[in-house]
Symmetry: C2
Subunit: 368 residues, 2 copies
C-alpha cells in the first residue's frame, strides 16, 4: 500500500534479514515490532498452510516475563482462569481483563518454573499493565521482556519437519505444552502451538543474534516437505474462527462476547483483577456475541482498517462487520461480526461496505 | 520500503483520506494509528517547516482522558511534576514514570476543567496504565480515549495562518496554553504547541467525521502563505534536540538521563507513582546522559530501526547512537547519543554503523 518509515521506535525481528531474503513484500507493526504479512503469492501461501508446511516469523508475539518469589501469585492475579493445576512445561490460553472485565489481551501463559512465567502476548502493552499491578500490590516480582522470539511452523506436515529437526518426541507433545531444548547449539523452547487450526509448533528462539541461522536450519530441514514462507493467514484464521485481539475487539469487549467464556473460571479468588466484573457480566449475560457472516454480492473482501455497520434487513442496527475475506476453501466471502446477543445463525443482515449495501447471513463460528 | 497491510488492529486517522490526496508516500504506526511520514520531497518539506508553514496529520497523538471527581488526584499521581498551580486552559509537559522511575511516556497534560484532563501522549499505552493505577487506588475517575485528533501547523508563518483562521487572539496564546473554539462549526481546541522548534499550533479536532473538511479549510486559508503538507520532521527534531519517547529511550531510561529533569519536582507527595525512585536517582545522579554527536565520514545518515554501539577511540564502550540524519542547515551528519554520564562535549567517539567504524564528536543538545 505504501512504505513503513524506519524508526528506532519500531523493532525489526531477529528473522528480519531472513524474511527480506525470502521476498517479504508487506509488513505490519505489532507490539512495536515488524512482522512480514506476505510474500507476494497469497493463494500459494494459503494452500501451503492448508496442505503442507509454512514457516512464519511471529517474533512479534513478545514475552512478558514474571520472575521472582511472587511470580505465580501475580500470574494468577492477572488471569481470571484457575491456574492451580498448571504444570511446569504447560501453557494455557488466558483472557487478561482490566478491572471492568474488559479484555486487554489473550496470551498463552507458559509456566517455566514455579517462580517464572511468560505471557506470550497479542498486540497490547502488558509490560506496563503487569508492572502496575505488581507494584501497587507490593509483590516481589520482576516484570521484563526477555530475549525470546517465536518462529512458527504451521500446517499438516509441520510435525514431520519438527520430528526431523528435534526428534520424534515432538509428536507426543500435547497442545500448548512445551519443552526447552537446543538446535545446533541455539537455545530454544519448542511448543505445540500456533495461530492456525492446521496443526503445528512454535519454536521460541532464546538468542536474538541467531535468527538468520535458525531460519536457515529450519528451511533446510523442511525442503523434503516443500516448506516455504508464510505468516498468520488472514483467510485461514477467519475460516477457523481464531480471535485477533484489537482487530475483532474494541474497548468494551469482554471475554464472553468473543467465545472466551470457557477460559474464564468464575471461582478464582476475589483479588484476581476483573473477576468481580466478570461475575456480574456472567450473571446477566453478555450484550454482544461474535458470529460468522457469509456475504453475498460482488465485493473485494480483504484486509481493511475499519469496522463496518451491520443491520437487520429492516434497518435495525445490530453491530459491526469486523473483517472479511474471500475463502478459498468455501469459495464465498466470509467475515466476523460482533452483534447483539439476540442474533442467531440464519439471520439475514446487511452491511454498509465501501458505500454499498451488501447482504449476508449470520452463522456460528468456526466456518470450517 | 515495503507496504503496510491493512488491519482493523490499526486505525486510520481522520485526516487519512486528505493526506492520501496530498500524496503521502510513507507511513508509520504510532499508538496503533497510521501517521504519514513523507510526501516524496524531503528537502522541500524540511525548508517549508524552517521558512514557511507546514500542515501535519498528528492524530496519532491520542488523548487519554481522566474525568470525574478524582481526575485531578489521578493526574497528580501519574505525573512527578507539581500541578498545584496548573490553570484551566494550561498544558504542561510531563514525564510519566513507572514505580522504578523509568520514563513510560512524555505527554502534554491539558487541564480542561477541575475534573477533566487530557494526556496528549507519545507512543505507549497509557490508557491501561492510568486505569490500573486508578482502579488499584480506588479512585472515582473514568479513563477513556475521546474522539480527539490533533493537526499541527508548524513553521514561522503558522501564526499568520492561524490568526487568519481563528482571529488575532491566537498571537497572544502562551506556549502550551489552549482554548476551546470552533471553525465553521467544527469543534476544536487550539493550542500553542507542536513537535518542532519552529513555532506553531496544534488544532485538536473533536469530531472525527470532520477530518477532511478541517484539512481543506486550513489548506485553503494557508494558500496565501504557501502552506503545504509535512509531518514531524526527523531532521528538524534532531537539530532542535526534541526527544522521541521509545526511539531515544529504552526500558531503563529515567527522565534525568534525557534532559527532562527540569520537569520533575522532587517535592511532590510521596504517593506519586515513581517519586521515591526518582528521588533516589536524583540523589546519586543518573548513570547516562543524552548528548548530540557530529559524525564524520561518508555515511548515509537517515532513519533506522536499531541503535548502534558507541565507544571512545580507545574502544571503551560508552553507549549508543540512537538516530542520525543529514542536517540541511548544518551541512553535517548529526545524531543523538545516550552515553555514560562521564562523557563531555568535545569527546571523540566511534560508532559501529552499517559495519563501518564512523568517527564523531560529542556536543551538547540542541544543535541549533
Amino acid at each position: 500500500l505504501f512504505g513503513i518509515t524506519p524508526s528506532t521506535r519500531l523493532r525489526p525481528s531477529p528473522y528480519y534479514d531472513a524474511t527480506l531474503a525470502e521476498g517479504a513484500t508487506s509488513f505490519t507493526v505489532y507490539n512495536r515490532t515488524l512482522m512480514p504479512t506476505g510474500y507476494g503469492k497469497p493463494e500459494e501461501e494459503y494452500w501451503r498452510l492448508i496442505r503442507g508446511v509454512s514457516q512464519w516469523d511471529v517474533a512479534v508475539e513478545r514475552q512478558v516475563q514474571l520472575a521472582g518469589p511472587d511470580a505465580a501469585r501475580l500470574a494468577q492475579l492477572l488471569c481470571p482462569r484457575d491456574l492451580s493445576k498448571q504444570a511446569i512445561g504447560q501453557g494455557k490460553y488466558v483472557a487478561l481483563c482490566n478491572h471492568d472485565g474488559v479484555l486487554i489481551n489473550d496470551p498463552i501463559l507458559l509456566k517455566l518454573a514455579d517462580d517464572r512465567f511468560w505471557l506470550s502476548i497479542a498486540d497490547s502493552n502488558i509490560w506496563f499493565w503487569a508492572r502496575a499491578i505488581a507494584a501497587e500490590r507490593g509483590l516481589r516480582v520482576e516484570v521484563s521482556e526477555p530475549d525470546v522470539s517465536p518462529m512458527a511452523l504451521q500446517g499438516p506436515k509441520a510435525v514431520d519437519v519438527m520430528a526431523h529437526l528435534f526428534g520424534s518426541w515432538v509428536r507426543e507433545l500435547k497442545m500448548f505444552w512445551f519443552k526447552q531444548t537446543a538446535l545446533d547449539g541455539i537455545p530454544v523452547i519448542v511448543a505445540r502451538s500456533g495461530w492456525s487450526k492446521q496443526g503445528g509448533f512454535e519454536v521460541y528462539l532464546m538468542d536474538g543474534t541467531q535468527g538468520t541461522r535458525l531460519w536457515q536450519l529450519v528451511k533446510e530441514a523442511g525442503k523434503a516437505w516443500d516448506i516455504g514462507p508464510g505468516n498468520p493467514n488472514h483467510c485461514e484464521r477467519i475460516e477457523s474462527g481464531l480471535l485477533s485481539y484489537g482487530a475483532d475487539t474494541d474497548e468494551h469487549t469482554n471475554p464472553f462476547e468473543v467465545r472466551m467464556g470457557k477460559y474464564v473460571d468464575l471461582h478464582v479468588a476475589d483479588d484476581v483483577v476483573g473477576i468481580a466484573a466478570l461475575r456480574r457480566i456472567a450473571a446477566v449475560g453478555p450484550r454482544r456475541r461474535q458470529m460468522g457472516v457469509v456475504l453475498g454480492g460482488d465485493i473485494a473482501a480483504g484486509p481493511r482498517f475499519v469496522w463496518y455497520p451491520m443491520a437487520r434487513n429492516d434497518g435495525t442496527p445490530i453491530g459491526s462487520l469486523n473483517n472479511c475475506v474471500w475463502s478459498w476453501r468455501l469459495q464465498r466471502n466470509i467475515g466476523f461480526a460482533l452483534v447483539t446477543s439476540d442474533c442467531a445463525a440464519g439471520d439475514a443482515v446487511s452491511v454498509a461496505l465501501d458505500r454499498k449495501q451488501v447482504s449476508g447471513q449470520l452463522v456460528e463460528l468456526p466456518f470450517i
